[in-house]
């Protein structure tokens, strides 16, 4: 797009100026790019050289972890949407006392070390925790189960969705909602037909952030849900387990490659989806 418009308006001076700045900024940018890319490329090459990648990937140990990761992170995203979309809308449009405080509160899990989140969750939902004890009496065990994995992921990753979506809602001109009201359309219907569709780019990027954060969740899960194969051992935990086992680095590399590929695909899909929604609006 930018190259097209530059071709349509050939303003030589502006182009040259942009380049002079480009050269100054190029060296740190290139260095940083190399810093990010080199380890990833090394990971890919090393995985290729080891040769046993497919074999390792198809082992029950990895397949269990992969399935658990996909299932839990997806459920986390669904829960984050169910609770996060209304919350984000209220934070963006609501007029009530403590709105600022709530906005800060929502961001707290994002800056908190995940291990702290895990400890906090354990204290609340553990067998002897405030809520956990009551749940145990009802026959529901939370800590060290798959449920705990999802709760840990939700706690850590949902704020990414809420924050992105809140910013998205705030960026929408309230006139659209007023127009809808004068056209006799109810507020709920307005939200579903106007506000939410207009916030779609923010919704998409928030959802992708939330999902990838859930997928990579480690610290909170380890403390609150433990590391049990097939039950709470997600991919990041499997990497640690493999790393510490006899397979060592080679085992960790194979699983890391899977996560790398999944994350890359997600990123590309999200970008494409965003571009399309921008094109239509």
């Amino acid at each position: 797009m930018s190259t097209n418009s530059a071709a349509e308006h050939p303003r030589v001076v502006a182009v040259r100026r942009a380049w002079s700045l480009g050269w100054i900024f190029a060296s740190p940018s290139l260095l940083f790019g190399a810093f990010v890319l080199v380890p990833l490329i090394a990971l890919a090459i090393r995985g290729w050289q080891d040769g046993q990648v497919m074999e390792r990937l198809l082992s029950p140990f990895v397949l269990h972890a992969l399935r658990l990761s996909v299932v839990t992170s997806t459920l986390t995203l669904v829960l984050a949407l169910v609770f996060g979309v209304p919350a984000a809308y209220l934070l963006a449009r609501g007029r009530f006392r403590g709105r600022q405080l709530l906005t800060i509160l929502v961001e707290l899990p994002m800056v908190l070390p995940p291990t702290v989140a895990g400890v906090a969750l354990l204290v609340a939902f553990g067998r002897r925790g405030a809520i956990g004890a009551a749940l145990v009496e009802m026959g529901i065990e939370v800590s060290f189960t798959t449920t705990a994995v999802i709760l840990a992921q939700l706690f850590v990753s949902a704020p990414f969705l809420v924050r992105s979506l809140q910013a998205g809602f705030e960026a929408i001109d309230p006139t659209y909602e007023q127009v809808s009201a004068t056209l006799g359309v109810s507020e709920l219907r307005t939200f579903l037909r106007v506000t939410l569709p207009l916030a779609r780019p923010a919704l998409l990027s928030g959802a992708v952030l939330c999902w990838t954060r859930a997928l990579s969740e480690l610290g909170a899960t380890l403390i609150f849900a433990g590391n049990f194969e097939g039950r709470t051992q997600t991919m990041p935990l499997a990497i640690i387990t493999a790393f510490e086992s006899s397979a060592g680095l080679s085992g960790a590399i194979a699983i890391s490659l899977v996560l790398l590929v999944v994350a890359s695909i997600l990123l590309v899909v999200a970008r494409l989806a965003q571009r399309r929604s921008r094109g239509s609006s």
């Binding site: 659209y176 809808s180 006799g184």
Partner: protein, 353 residues
């Protein structure tokens, strides 16, 4: 009809507005920040007045004493926003059909086609707002506002975002549409020409108050006060006092006016710049009534007309005079500096001070 009597405390002033619109177009005219748009929002239910009453058709939609506050969804008013605000993610057809929730698909299509025809936007059906010009967007927005049966139409600076040619076009369109839309229209504008073109009656607003609410010609030719005269573009407003009978004194010169003013009573007298006449000084030496000698102090050329500022030689006021380009040439205004200015009796208007 639409009946409005609302009060609302705002930051800069207190809004206190009364007017009504029968089967006619009422223009709320005033400078930006005079409270006209807020008034419209109050009628539509987008702003809640502190007190007062709003009636739409036969329904009271707001009444502070009876605790009635009908939500905007149920006020049955079409509202055209200054920002146009077409839904950017919907096509023209979807925008127009947006409000038609109760109809089945075929009835909805028919209604959309009707409106597209009425506003001459048939070819825009599949386009998104981003792919249309400002004028086209405003037409679509008007179609959208008219899609449901409404008891009134509210227009908030509907043409202000458009360039002059398009504005003229759409104003003419609205005048044409007036015959098809048989509901009261309340239109907010700060544009004098627009107000004059569209209005049956005009409410002149300033700092949240209605200074004058009257027939269009009444407001333009018989402003209620100096303030209204200035707001409606009357260039010449003079401080004067009565001489008894139908005579007043302005800057030491006596002028005849259409109505009697008691002796010594201070009044304001006004005359529009285009109603002042220029005569050659050499016509005769004895000045006719309501005439005085003046020199051209400055001159502005607008192509189709000239605005002259003249200063009296001896007693008489300074006046602004508009002369169309043809009389300007015929009289040879450019060739001489000194003129006789006549303020015709019937074009002078006396206002209380």
């Amino acid at each position: 009809m639409i009946g409005v009597d609302i009060q609302k405390r705002l930051h800069a002033f207190t809004l206190d507005v009364q007017f009504d619109a029968q089967h006619e177009t009422v223009v709320l005219f005033g400078r930006s920040g005079s409270g006209k748009s807020r008034t419209l929002a109050g009628v539509a239910g987008l702003m809640r007045p502190d007190s007062g009453r709003v009636v739409v058709g036969s329904r009271t939609v707001f009444d502070s004493t009876r605790r009635i506050d009908v939500p905007p969804q149920q006020r049955n008013l079409g509202y055209l926003f200054q920002q146009v605000a077409l839904f950017p993610h919907l096509t023209t057809e979807e925008n127009i059909a947006y409000a038609l929730t109760g109809l089945d698909a075929s009835a909805r299509r028919r209604r959309v086609r009707e409106l597209a025809e009425l506003l001459r936007i048939e070819e825009l059906g599949a386009r998104y707002p981003g792919e249309m010009s400002g004028g086209q967007q405003q037409r679509v927005a008007l179609a959208r506002a008219l899609a449901r049966p409404v008891d009134g139409l509210l227009l908030d600076e509907p043409f202000s975002a458009l360039d002059e040619a398009l504005r003229a076009d759409l104003r003419a369109e609205l005048v044409r549409l007036r015959q098809d839309i048989d509901v009261p229209i309340v239109c907010v504008t700060h544009d004098l020409r627009e107000a004059h073109l569209l209005a049956d009656r005009i409410a002149v607003l300033e700092a949240g108050r209605v200074l004058q609410f009257a027939e269009r010609t009444g407001v333009f030719h018989h402003p209620a006060s100096r303030q209204v005269a200035q707001l409606t573009g009357v260039a010449n407003v003079f401080a004067a006092h009565g001489l008894g009978g139908r005579r007043v004194e302005i800057e030491g010169a006596a002028f005849e006016v259409p109505q009697a003013v008691a002796e010594g009573v201070p009044v304001d007298v006004c005359i529009r710049a285009e109603r002042c006449l220029l005569r050659r000084t050499d016509v005769n030496d004895d000045l006719p009534p309501n005439c005085f000698v003046a020199d051209i102090a400055s001159e502005l050329a607008f192509g189709n007309a000239y605005t002259l500022h003249l200063q009296a030689v001896g007693p008489g006021p300074g006046v602004e005079v508009d002369v169309a380009s043809r009389p300007y040439d015929v009289l040879g205004v450019a060739t001489r500096r000194r003129w006789v200015v006549e303020l015709p009796v019937n074009d002078l208007h006396v206002m209380p001070r």
